[in-house]
Amino acid sequence: MNTISAYLNWAFLPTFLFSIIRMTTPLIYAAMGAIISHKAGFNNLALESMMLTSAFTAVIASAYSQSAFIGLLGGLAGAFFIAAIICLTVLKFKTDLYLTCLSLNMMSSYGTTFCMYVLCKSKITTAWELSSKTLPNIDLPIIKDIPFIGEVLSGHHLLTYMAALFVFLMWFLLYRTRIGLRIRSVGEKPEAAESVGINVNRIKAISFFLSAAFSALGGIYMSMGYVSWFNKDMVAGRGFIGNAANNLSGSEPVGGALYSLMFGVAQAIGNVFVSSSSAAAELILMFPYVVTIIALAISSTIRMRRERQRLGLN
């Protein structure tokens, strides 16, 4: 307990809050990716695969070009590749979406490992040799001088600030633009959308590619900001946590971001305490996943009850 209480003081608080924001960033991207495809009527369970692939391709691209920007493009290309496979198989060859996503998760998990071995010529779990350039951290001009707030809010990764921006852009895209309206109508009633001349498959493909773009940013953050290398299975279920945030928020961008923050807190607690007290390290690492399951169960219970009341069953 001594070690834990050492962390429970005021001097430590800014570090902890800073860590929360750091952990939340990829989750927000994952949640946005889940939301946009869910709005078009799909549960994108391949977020994990998209994030992992883009994390990998970003490292490769940036390690070989020695440029962070090329790395960013490489990461996007990786996720688009996965999205293209999904669109081709699900929309054209009518495979089962879940099965496709699950097999893609498998493929990217082993595929990245395979490519890593081949590129590094040795069997390792972390590609140290392929160290990536990172995108810059940004000091916010005025805020960084404010004592407490500056420590928490300033000096984050570029993609962290962009994540906050994207939450509102996403809201704008969904509710204030033509394409957003089309995505929502395709998700709610594809037949109706088709009857007014919307190309349903094209809209679905667009939403998948947008979803891929978001999850790619999440993956790029993992390998070009959070750390600067690629690690086997480094995404560690974050894509699925994004799916959970989407379910919890009922596919609303702002709500999704807030739930991501909740999961970010759970992960930050894990991160902070795992270094201090190793006795129960695994139990602390387990915490975010337990929180996810419990949160899903609670929110669904509430939703089901409300639904029943609405239908007058109770």
């Binding site: 198989t89 009518k94 496709t100 097999s103 893609l104 395979f114 699925f240 379910n247 996810t292």
Partner: protein, 367 residues
């Protein structure tokens, strides 16, 4: 062509099931050989080792069977889960946690001096029950609360893995070892290895019995029929009065139980201690096996043996050449996508069924 005239549409359908499996196997071979040639510095050698390697020694041939045993268990489990149209990935977590709980129970019962067969039987049954209990969680959340079973099961797999690591390190760890594992299991708990020079164990008899039981349950009982009906058309199932909720629950619990049985058998058969700290991948392989076998329990062992053969070949390649064995897993994912494509050979199948029906009619008219 003459032989086919008497066939019904159902028979053609099952013929196509086998045909699709064969086509998928061929495609996977082409894919892997392509990957090998692409990656390897000495492609011809690698391809040769990959294809003939598993049959080169008696031990390697036995390896194929050893690999196939857990694949068959998780594959059978996935057959049930997949039959009701669910994609719970809980097999992965169940596999290790059932084995771990069986190991714990083995140590708890150590003092009783149970006879070998009974000891192993108790452990396997316990492992199966643990599997069922764990499988119940995502199934219940899915059927009662409509929480996506894939998300829950994968989160639960992480939870189980961490929990096992914790208990293994804190309570069950053998301090004389440099790695995390339990003490050696009691000798009498282990399954007998009955073939000299191989590690093939009596678990193979359990699996043969299970294959037929699963086939009987899925294809010959009312319960199995209800499962398949729910999986194919849940609205129709509700219309004819089948309770989708309980059928789906039962199927997912059975599926997890089979994975748990597989984990326990695997540990008791091949290992002297419990030592899995990470997910083993057998759960994912179960998906591949079930998809390749197209949910038919009788085809599951064939799919499992095929995967065992590939793994064994990949192992040999991994050891003797410069290619890491993960290429098999990449192929697995691709094949799942290809076989899962309902469209695969669908046009051809329709054509054959149509022609056959037409010919049957003509025959009837002539008679």
């Amino acid at each position: 062509m003459k032989k086919r005239t008497g066939l019904s549409a159902q028979q053609i359908d099952s013929l196509f099931t086998v045909l699709r499996m064969i086509v998928a196997i061929l495609i996977s071979f082409v894919l892997m050989i392509f990957l090998l040639i692409w990656v390897s510095d000495e492609p011809i050698e690698a391809v040769k080792t990959f294809i003939t390697g598993p049959f080169s020694t008696k031990r390697r041939m036995a390896n194929i069977v050893e690999y196939a045993i857990p694949y068959t268990f998780t594959g059978l489990g996935m057959c049930f889960i997949y039959s009701v149209g669910r994609f719970s990935m809980i097999g992965e977590g169940v596999f290790i946690s059932s084995a771990f709980s069986a190991a714990c129970l083995a140590f708890a019962l150590e003092g009783l001096n149970l006879p070998p067969v009974l000891y192993a039987a108790i452990l396997i049954i316990a492992g199966t029950i643990v599997g069922c209990l764990i499988g119940f969680v995502p199934a219940l959340l899915r059927e009662k609360l409509h929480v996506n079973e894939v998300v829950v099961s994968i989160m639960l797999n992480y939870v189980l893995t961490f929990a096992i690591r914790y208990f293994l390190r804190m309570y069950m760890h053998d301090p004389s070892l440099s790695y995390n594992a339990t003490r050696t299991l009691p000798k009498s708990a282990n399954l007998l290895r009955f073939l000299k020079g191989t590690r093939i164990h009596t678990g193979i008899f359990i699996i043969i019995v299970m294959i037929f039981i699963c086939y009987w349950v899925l294809r010959r009982t009312a319960l199995g029929y209800q499962m398949r009906t729910v999986g194919q058309n849940s609205r129709f199932a509700r219309y004819v009065g089948i309770s989708g909720v309980s059928i789906c629950l039962i199927a997912q619990v059975i599926g997890a139980g089979l994975a748990g049985m597989g984990g326990t058998v695997e540990m008791l058969g091949l290992y002297t201690r419990y030592q899995w700290e990470n997910q083993t991948g057998y759960g994912n392989d179960g998906v591949f096996v079930a998809v390749l076998a197209q949910k038919n329990p009788l085809l599951v062992p064939i799919a499992a043996l095929f995967l065992g053969y590939l793994r064994c070949g990949a192992d040999v390649v991994n050891r003797t050449t410069d290619v890491p064995f993960e290429f098999v897993n990449i192929m697995q994912a691709v094949v799942i996508m290809i076989v899962a494509g309902e469209m695969m050979l669908a046009g051809f199948k329709k054509m054959v069924i149509y022609r056959n029906a037409k010919r049957n009619l003509e025959k009837e008219a002539a008679a």
